[in-house]
């Protein structure tokens, strides 16, 4: 009877409410998410998320690993844009140890991070297309993501969980093959992306499905701790790259796109424009790439080359000290944030001088903004809820840590 009174004002189908388990393994949720929905026919009355299905205790693991071994953990946060996580972590440690990274390494990082952002946004936007019934754009644009992964491979040898760069800079300089592939990417990608855009951006069916789906106001988004494209889609022009520039982002000319309604279509458009801006940043960084070393001179943290280890006493000592974790680390606490694919990715690191962090906390944007999901889908259709989730780009790895 309680149910009756709660929903008395509603137009129920046969007066029946259904509890629907959306997930944990539902093909439309693109990951292990469970949502227990209370449905009135097609409409969602209430929703509650269950998370933690791929919780791997990263914060605990971080307390038992030397600083350089934490980088692979960060890969697995938002695995659609691992390089951003890697660089964010390196910059956090560099802040702690007071290491100034050479300009060339900073520009290299910017290029890799913006490639990662493009890859991240491509997945999100093409998946929004898939969830509206348009598979073509997804299969088409995934070739471009493969090309971005080829570029990763040239700089770090891996494609998905990149472990890219080192504390103090990059692990190696851009190879000749990288330059060839990068130039090819810069000429080919904008055209391909325009084709992808023409498939969806003004597509009538797509617009009908996405406009007004899962909206949130700017004020509410801020209260819910939104950051990144989801916050910007709600009209708040907050971007860590501009608010607190890191890695020489202040050198580049780019705009922060903002939406108005904070709905699925705005989130889509914000990400579309961010991809174009990322290409602009990459072009600027690539064209103005400064000469110089690709890593800082921090022998306590940056592994010497293998040739030197085998032939030089000093290099051997440093190698041993780094690998065995005998490096003195300053005592202190730092917070460093980067603009991840989904918003402000923060690292709160407390060091007590030991070889591992005393405490390491990840501010994971997905975890924080996914809280708002029930509120955003309340009263909407189930199909809109699916779209809302894919447009929020909730990445299970980052959500569950």
């Amino acid at each position: 009877m309680q149910v009756q009174s709660y929903f008395s004002g509603l137009d129920t189908i046969d007066g029946e409410l259904i509890t629907l388990n959306l997930g944990p393994t539902h093909p439309a949720t693109h990951g292990i998410f469970q949502n227990v929905l209370k449905m009135d026919g097609e409409r969602i009355i209430e929703a509650e998320q269950t998370i933690g299905y791929i919780h791997r205790a990263f914060e605990k693991l971080g307390e038992r690993r030397p600083y350089n071994q934490i980088t692979p953990i960060t890969d697995r946060l938002n695995y659609c844009s691992s390089p951003i996580n890697n660089m964010g972590w390196h910059m956090t440690v560099e802040k702690l140890i007071g290491c100034e990274v050479p300009k060339r390494a900073q520009y290299m990082r910017v290029i890799m991070m913006e490639l990662a952002r493009i890859a991240d946004h491509l997945i999100c936007n093409s998946v929004i297309g898939v969830d509206t019934g348009a598979l073509t754009g997804f299969t088409y644009i995934f070739q471009e993501r493969e090309h971005i992964y080829d570029l990763y491979e040239e700089i770090c040898g891996t494609r998905l969980t990149t472990n890219m760069g080192r504390i103090g800079g990059m692990e190696r300089d851009f190879s000749p093959a990288f330059h060839t592939k990068m130039k090819a990417f810069l000429t080919r990608f904008p055209k391909k992306f325009d084709e992808f855009t023409s498939l969806l951006e003004r597509n009538r069916i797509f617009i009908d499905r996405t406009v007004g789906a899962g909206p949130i106001s700017g004020e509410r988004a801020l209260e819910y701790g939104f950051t990144g494209p989801n916050l910007r889609a709600a009209g708040v022009d907050y971007d860590v790259r501009v608010a607190n520039p890191y890695s020489s982002y202040e050198d580049f000319d780019f705009i922060i796109p903002v939406g108005e309604n904070g709905d699925t279509y705005d989130r889509f458009l914000v990400r579309q424009e961010e991809i174009r801006q990322s290409v602009r940043i990459i072009e600027q960084a690539y064209k103005n790439m400064p000469e110089g070393p690709y890593h800082a001179d921090v022998p306590d943290f940056y592994l010497p080359s293998k040739d030197d280890v085998y032939t030089k006493m000093e290099a051997l000592i440093y190698h041993f000290k780094i690998v065995m974790g005998e490096v003195p680390v300053p005592v202190g606490e730092v917070y460093h944030a980067v603009e991840g694919g989904n918003g402000e990715l923060g690292f709160y690191l407390v060091s007590d001088g030991g070889r591992q962090p005393f405490r390491l906390h990840f501010r994971r944007p997905c975890f924080i903004y996914y809280q708002a999901y029930p509120e955003m889908i309340k009263g909407s259709f189930l199909s809109d809820a699916i779209l809302t989730m894919s447009s929020m780009n909730v990445i299970a790895g980052e959500l569950d840590a």
Partner: protein
């Protein structure tokens, strides 16, 4: 208005005299310590003050110092004023036997899951929280895994003794 660490601290000190027990600026970020009785009034004040406009709860997390007897557990709030582009950090500490802190969900709904996570990891009970239960771990777990007494690796291993690696071996040692 350009906010600085001094202005922020003075504003809080003026509104709540004696509330800031300790303050420092590691790596330029204002870091203050207060009591759990005063944390929510302070956060409410900085949020609603028209000059300070600390509108954003960036992050909330727990921390455990087993050596600080009587104030082992802590909660760290990272705050941000987007309008002023200013960040600061504020902490509270309390005894592990009396792990209770007031909820910040009344000010920011974003605190909901962050507090659930802190409860899940450290066992901090947030009074007034609408739905305080475990979030990342299974519900029937009976430990708070990020407390320092729970060692990540087998305690019998001697090859990774912290005493050999720059620490005095306090991490988890006395609990073995």
């Amino acid at each position: 208005m350009h906010l600085s660490n001094d202005i922020m601290r003075a504003a809080i000190e003026q509104q709540f005299p004696g509330s800031i027990l300790k303050h420092e600026e590691p790596y330029g970020m204002l870091t203050m310590e207060t009591t759990r009785e005063q944390i929510i009034p302070i956060l409410e004040f900085v949020k609603n003050d028209p000059a300070l406009q600390v509108n954003f709860l960036t992050s909330l997390c727990g921390i455990h110092y087993p050596d600080q007897s009587g104030r082992e557990l802590g909660v760290v709030y990272h705050m941000q004023s987007m309008r002023n582009n200013f960040r600061f950090r504020i902490k509270i500490f309390f005894s592990i036997e009396d792990a209770v802190a007031p909820t910040a969900t009344t000010l920011w709904p974003a605190a909901n899951w962050m507090e659930r996570e802190t409860y899940d990891f450290f066992g901090v009970h947030f009074t007034g929280h609408p739905n305080l239960k475990r979030i990342l771990n299974v519900e029937d777990m009976d430990v708070f895994p990020l407390r320092k007494e729970y060692r990540l690796e087998d305690g019998t291993r001697t090859d990774k003794d912290d005493r050999f690696f720059g620490r005095d071996g306090h991490e988890g040692r006395e609990f073995d």
